[in-house]
Symmetry: C2
Subunit: 124 residues, 2 copies
C-alpha cells in the first residue's frame, strides 16, 4: 500500500487492515512482540500494551497505546481472520507498522483502507 499524502492540517493517518487466511492462533506474547516491533518500525513510542485472551484456541482483543495514537488488534482464529487498525500522528508512518504485521501474520488475502484524520472540518 502506498501511504496517503501527509495531512498538512493535522493529526494523522489511520489504516484499517483486514487479514484473511492467517494463522490467528498466535499466543499473546508473540503478538505483543509483533506490536512492539511494528511500533518501532514506525518510530512510534509505546505507552502501554494491553492484550486480553478469550481462552485456548479463542481470539484476543488488544491494543498498543502509542504516544502517537494506537495499534489495535482483534483476532478470530475460528475464521482465520485478524482485524488491525493503526492510527499514527506526526511523522510516524503506519505503513511501516503494517509491513511488520503483514510479515508476522502472512495473510493470503487482505483488505486495507486508509483515512486521513483531522482534515479541516466540514462546512468551513
Amino acid at each position: 500500500m502506498t501511504a496517503p499524502a501527509v495531512n498538512p492540517f493535522g493529526p494523522g493517518h489511520h489504516v484499517l487492515a483486514d487479514f484473511w487466511d492467517v494463522d490467528a492462533s498466535c499466543d499473546i506474547i508473540a503478538i505483543e512482540t509483533a506490536l512492539r516491533m511494528a511500533a518501532l518500525a514506525s518510530a512510534a513510542t509505546v505507552v502501554d500494551i494491553r492484550l486480553h485472551g478469550f481462552g485456548e484456541n479463542a481470539g484476543i482483543t488488544g491494543v498498543a497505546l502509542l504516544a502517537e495514537s494506537h495499534i489495535s488488534i482483534h483476532t478470530w482464529p475460528e475464521i482465520s481472520f485478524v482485524a488491525l487498525d493503526i492510527f499514527m500522528c506526526g511523522s510516524c508512518n503506519p505503513d511501516n507498522a503494517l509491513d511488520v504485521l503483514r510479515k508476522f501474520f502472512k495473510p493470503k488475502r487482505e483488505a486495507i483502507v486508509s483515512h486521513l484524520r483531522g482534515l479541516p472540518p466540514p462546512h468551513v
Copy 2:
C-alpha cells in the same frame, strides 16, 4: 448517522469519528466515565480502560478495550479536535456509543466514516 447493514459474514462495524470545535480539555476521569457510558449504551463489555495524559492542557491518548473490540480516543485540545474510533462486533451497535460521546463532547462539526470489517476476503 445510520448504521450500516449488519455484516452477515463476520466481525463487525468500525466507525471513525472526527469531532471538531469541541472542548477537548476534559480531565481523564470524565473521559473514562464517558467511555464506560458509551460502551454501556452499546451493550458492550469493558475489559479494561487505559488513558494516558500528556500533561496539563495537553491531549490524552487512550482506549477502552472491549470484549467486542474497542473504543479509542485521542484529543488535541490545542486545535479543539477529538479523534474517536469505535469498533464493535456481534450485536453491539457502535452508533449508540457514538451518540453518547457526541453528547459528551458536543462537537459543532464532525466527520464520520463507517466500515464493515471482516467482509469476505477479496479475490474469492
